[in-house]
């Protein structure tokens, strides 16, 4: 195909005689059928991608409703539908879910408390090494979580040797690690909002006699709030689903839900984890719907579409 050929189709239409018109019509038809092939190809890819992404989730949900008592096999589609496994979820899994929930809540809250001032400072101050400071704030995202995991584990050992308090396998030890990986999400989303911030809004407030603090609370904060929500959500979900960092920082009998699920899959499992997994899927769904109602998915995607999970 050459540029000339493209031009020819257009030229055909201009100097059309009865003869060339037939040629042009043929070309147009071929062009249209190619369009159709292209259209379908695109949609086939889209459908494939969605089936690919969602099939495992649907299988987990479906298989969780398969009954059959003691010798139940994991089956999809469920052979004997029942909800018995929802009553068989052992306490251990609820404890793990509780720990994950507490950790993720604390991590996202702390990430907001630490990340929002950081973002304000990054965008609004004019320190000389600002780019480098930005790199430091982003680095927990770039460092593979496994690497952070062993780095924190060794740090906790050394701190333990020095002070007698070993943080691995404790809530505080897990929390510090999770806050560390959660901060970049809040910093990222809030920086993105602040960079588009219209300064005239603040100037107007100040010139009308509002104090700087009042201006911040009544003007700046409401504008950056969607960014804060988005960052907090990303932080929560990353912390709630993390395996590679937590696997080093948990102790036997004190594990987060993803780690519990991970070791179950590596060793041995019964269908009750399908039921708890389904509850987690539903929980994520509910969180998403609430977020969509409160902030709007649109804002969420525009702000932090390039977040990086693990």
């Amino acid at each position: 195909m050459s540029a000339r050929e493209d031009g020819l189709i257009a030229a055909d239409a201009v100097r059309a005689t009865p003869d060339t018109r037939a040629v042009a019509a043929g070309k147009a038809m071929r062009w249209r059928s190619r369009q159709a092939v292209n259209f379908w190809l695109k949609w086939v890819m889209v459908v494939l991608a969605y089936v690919f992404l969602h099939a495992p989730l649907i299988v987990v949900i479906g298989a969780s409703f398969n009954g059959g008592g003691e010798y139940a096999a994991i089956e999809f589609p469920p052979a004997s539908p029942s909800i018995e496994w929802y009553f068989e979820i052992p306490m251990q899994q609820f404890e793990a879910l509780g720990l994950s929930f507490a950790l993720a809540s604390l991590a996202s809250l702390s990430a907001v408390i630490i990340g929002v001032p950081a973002a304000l400072g990054l965008v609004r101050s004019n320190l000389p090494g600002k780019t480098l400071i930005g790199v430091v704030f982003r680095s927990p995202l770039q460092i593979p979580a496994v690497v952070s995991g062993i780095a924190f584990l060794q740090m906790y050992y050394l701190v333990g040797d020095a002070t007698g308090f070993f943080a691995q396998g404790s809530f505080i030890g897990l929390a510090i690690g999770h806050i560390f990986i959660a901060i970049p999400y809040v910093v990222g989303t809030v920086v993105a909002v602040l960079q588009r911030f219209d300064h005239r809004l603040e100037e107007a407030a100040l010139s009308l006699g509002a104090s700087p603090w009042r201006t911040f609370r009544r003007v700046t904060l409401p504008v950056i709030m969607p960014g804060v929500y988005a960052g907090a959500l990303y932080a929560f979900m990353v912390s709630f689903g993390d395996v590679p960092l937590s696997i080093f920082l948990t102790a036997p009998g004190y594990v987060t839900y993803p780690v519990e699920l991970f070791s179950a899959l590596e060793n041995d499992f019964d269908p009750s984890i399908l039921a708890s997994g389904t509850l987690v899927i539903l929980f994520c769904l509910v969180v998403m719907i609430v977020v969509q109602r409160v902030v709007g998915l649109d804002a969420l995607l525009k702000i932090g579409g390039t977040g990086k999970g693990r």
Binding site: A49, H54, P144, A151, G241, L274, M288, K308, R310
Partner: protein
Amino acid sequence: MTVRWDLLLIPSFLFTFILLSVSQTLFLEGSFYKDLGLGRTGDTLDLVNYVRVFTDGFYLTTLWITVKVSALATICTLVFSFPVAYVIARMRSSWGMILLSGIVVSTFITIVIKVFGIIIIFSADGWLNQFLMSTGITTEPYSIIGTQEGVVIGLMYFTLGFGVLTLYSVVQTIPTSLEEAAEIHGASRPRMFRRVILPLAMPGLVAGGLMVFNMCMGAFTSAALLGGGKVFTLPVLIQRTIMMEVKYSMAGTLAAVLLVAVILINVLSIILIRRMHFARGVLA
């Protein structure tokens, strides 16, 4: 305004910087002590561990497999996520948002649950294998668990959603008017795609591709579960070296190699993107 924004930065910066520098220096320093196994290390700094990583066949194979599956997963992710991102970005109805939320939800759900679903799908007496065997496509139950293809697919579960979300924002920056102009001048869709969309999306594709590659190199959960103890990538090996062999400094060495690789890819991507912007500026 007389607000000292830089003061606001200090506490947050100190928190991140101290955690980052202390944890990373400690393990990097540890990686230079010879590993004697079972948590014991030598007393002097040397490069024994590093020499071993780059001479021992097993470690070299692991490095190669990590790069290979990451590259394959990156290519597949880009090939799948670009059409999806394009279709969604060009949708005018509210369906676009609904499709996008589908992606976001599946991205947010922990990868362990998704891998669980994959394990069920490929179980020996599962629906897929019964179908494959009854139609005679295979005689033995087929499983992707413990194969390199399985790891590639696992990595794709980890990256596809992010790929779509990233490329979605890339496609949104390409004005539809350019496509219309090409179409009015008689360009076919494939040609328009090749000559208009692809060049404009290229910086985004390169950036997104390197991001996805980086994620794959560091991916642990999906690689560990779908590798099934047979296929090892670097992150999986790092975890096993600590948990099963209790070799802290050897694991530190492997982690250092991974870290350096990831940082190099990041630097490379920044340089590449800068170059492309420069080239585009010259051409325009």
